[in-house]
């Protein structure tokens, strides 16, 4: 009953005309961001962040969340119509979505993607609503040692579960943690690694790092492809899927929803991993796996539902524990902190308007996205007809504008350019830069938690082992590291590593 009354409070906020308008703007901007190759949700949220300064925190978070799940919807459009994933999570949709387009079934593929995303988005918000409060209640019992252990575990799981080399991910997370330590030491008040630059006293901001690594470096990598793209433009009447396609999609949508939600809670690039897992599962359990890759509607329904469901799952650690589980929630955390809000176990009690308003807005946002993405898909795809040579200069100008206006500081812009160059080379060397962004935002929290724990114990490191919850989490960290090293050693010995 308490949940229902809280939800009623949330809807009373989410359904006000002002919140609805900003949710619409966020969803629209997110859809466009998701469709454009080279601008993902992370860059989109970073660019829109300064715009939220004059807004109240509830509206700000509602609009930014709209960008996040709008980008998930938008990414599917380019994947299906052009075989270009506007967003990394839509890579799996390309395979069967584009095959359906080639068979003349682009409309139903878009409709199934939108319906699946809507169902997954709505169901997973129910999960978020039900799970976040009990997790937050448990987290209230956490002290600094438990937080330190949880943050360490989160970073390690992110490195372990992300695609690619675990060691490379750990390296990126460590670089991020080091960058995150720039600025005034929270315990002693001394300035560290600031090189006499006053702007660095507050640390390196997550926005310039994210825009540099994900926005500017992406432009550097893709600016050469300046030609116009051939786009198919489906008509509204073509969008209706057949009864057979609807029946074939029902179970994959439900499975994708569950997978996405569960994977979303775990740290890592949840929306990306969940779509891969969902596609693999659908192919595995299908009676006709040979249809996959040739236009199987299940290959669109499952991954699209999973990546949308994962966005809600990813908000659980952020809202209940105050710990972001990936790069996008990390930027959302930064956005909340700019507005003076500290997400965490006390948020539900101290600011129920923000927490429940945000939850309710996600239901509203899913409806808005369904309306935006089905009838207006023909309008959106016109954007893709603009040659990239015209688009990328404006994306760069937006990066410049977004980073500068966050703190009105050119130092931030220089930092973004520096990280853009770094990101360009890191991506050429096949490093995933998401753990770096997460490291930047987690570093001050992790350092504070470790030093507070050591202050509690008088400098005795065994405090982390003596506390049962922290000890268990650190044992998990050790087990993961040992397992990874042993399995790698074994694979190298039997010669599987290179194969």
């Amino acid at each position: 009953m308490e949940i229902l009354s809280n939800l009623a409070l949330g809807f009373s906020i989410a359904l006000t005309p002002q919140v609805l308008a900003y949710a619409f703007i966020g969803c629209l901007f997110g859809t466009l961001v998701g469709m454009l190759p080279g601008v993902g949700p992370l860059t989109g949220i970073s660019l829109l962040l300064p715009v939220t300064y004059g807004l109240n925190p509830t509206i700000a978070i509602v609009m930014l969340a709209g960008v996040y799940y709008g980008a998930m919807y938008g990414g599917s459009t380019t994947s299906i119509l052009m075989r270009i994933p506007g967003e990394a999570a839509s890579v799996m949709t390309c395979i069967d979505g584009y095959a359906m387009t080639q068979k003349g079934r682009a409309g139903p593929a878009l409709a199934i993607a939108a319906i699946g995303s809507f169902i997954a988005g709505t169901v997973s918000v129910v999960g978020l609503m039900l799970l976040a409060p009990p997790i937050a209640a448990v987290a209230l019992k956490f002290g600094p040692p438990e937080y330190a252990a949880l943050l360490t575990l989160g970073l390690l799981v992110l490195a372990y579960l992300s695609s690619g080399s675990t060691l490379k991910m750990l390296l990126m997370a460590l670089v991020g943690l080091l960058v995150g330590l720039v600025g005034i030491d929270q315990m002693s008040g001394f300035a560290r690694f600031t090189w006499n630059v006053p702007e660095l006293a507050d640390g390196v901001g997550v926005v310039p790092v994210a825009v540099g690594l994900f926005g500017i470096s992406e432009i550097m990598l893709s600016a050469r492809s300046s030609g116009a793209l051939k786009v198919q433009k489906p008509r509204l009447a073509d969008l209706v899927p057949s009864r057979e396609e609807m029946r074939a999609s029902a179970a994959p949508i439900l499975r994708g929803t569950l997978i996405g939600f569960l994977v979303g809670v775990v740290p890592g690039s949840a929306h990306i991993i969940s779509s891969f897992v969902s596609y693999a599962l659908e192919k595995k359990i299908s009676k006709h796996p040979e249809r996959f890759g040739h236009g199987a509607v299940e290959g669109v329904a499952g991954p699209e539902s999973a990546n949308n469901s994962a966005t809600s799952g990813a908000f659980i650690p952020l809202l209940a524990l105050g710990i972001p589980s990936g790069a996008v929630p990390a930027v959302m955390l930064a956005a909340l902190m700019i507005h003076g809000i500290s997400p965490g176990p006390q948020l539900m009690q101290s600011r129920p308007d923000i927490f429940w308003g945000f939850i309710a807005s996600m239901y509203v946002g899913n409806v808005v996205l369904l309306i935006l993405n089905l009838p207006m898909v023909g309008l959106f795809v016109n954007l893709l007809r603009i040659p990239y040579a015209y688009l990328y200069p404006f994306i760069l100008a937006l990066c410049l504008l977004g980073v500068y206006s966050t703190n009105q500081s050119t130092v931030d812009v220089w930092i973004a350019i520096g990280f853009g160059v770094l990101g360009y080379f890191l991506r050429k060397l096949e490093f995933d830069t998401a753990p770096l962004v997460l490291g930047v935002i987690l570093a001050p929290m992790l350092e504070l938690a470790i030093r507070q724990s050591l202050a509690m114990s008088g400098g005795d490191w065994s405090i982390f082992a003596k506390r049962p919850i922290a000890g268990t989490m650190l044992a998990l960290v050790a087990a993961l590291l040992i397992y990874n090293l042993l399995s790698r050693g074994w694979r190298t010995r039997v010669g599987l590593e290179e194969k």
Partner: protein, 107 residues
């Protein structure tokens, strides 16, 4: 903490070097020219931003990229650059009240 992280970073880097048994592929730097141009132009724009003001800086930056780098029609480049510089300034600075730099000459 920074020292501990630096030690861990060096250890992880060494481990990565040891594990890399296959010869490293040469890095594809075919897009290095456009990357260098983008970095140079962004650097120049950042240098000019607080001196020449937002509108002038963004107008010149876009004009150079569109007309000189991408060789788009000059009249269209001027129109698009001017429209974006003035439109985004009005939206962010005037409507949303997020201050953007203005030159000492007032533009």
């Amino acid at each position: 903490m920074p020292r501990l992280l630096a030690v861990l970073l060096i250890a992880a880097a060494l481990l990565l070097m040891v594990q890399k048994s296959r010869p490293a592929r040469p890095m594809d730097l075919s897009d290095a020219r456009i990357t260098a141009v983008i970095v140079l132009l962004l650097g120049a724009a950042t240098f000019a931003l607080e001196r020449a003001g937002y509108r002038a800086t963004v107008f010149v930056f876009l004009l150079v990229v569109l007309a000189a780098v991408e060789r788009r029609p000059p009249w269209l480049s001027i129109l698009l650059s001017g429209g974006f510089a003035l439109g985004s300034f009005h939206l962010i600075n005037t409507v949303l009240r997020v201050p953007l730099p203005v030159s000492r000459w007032g533009w």
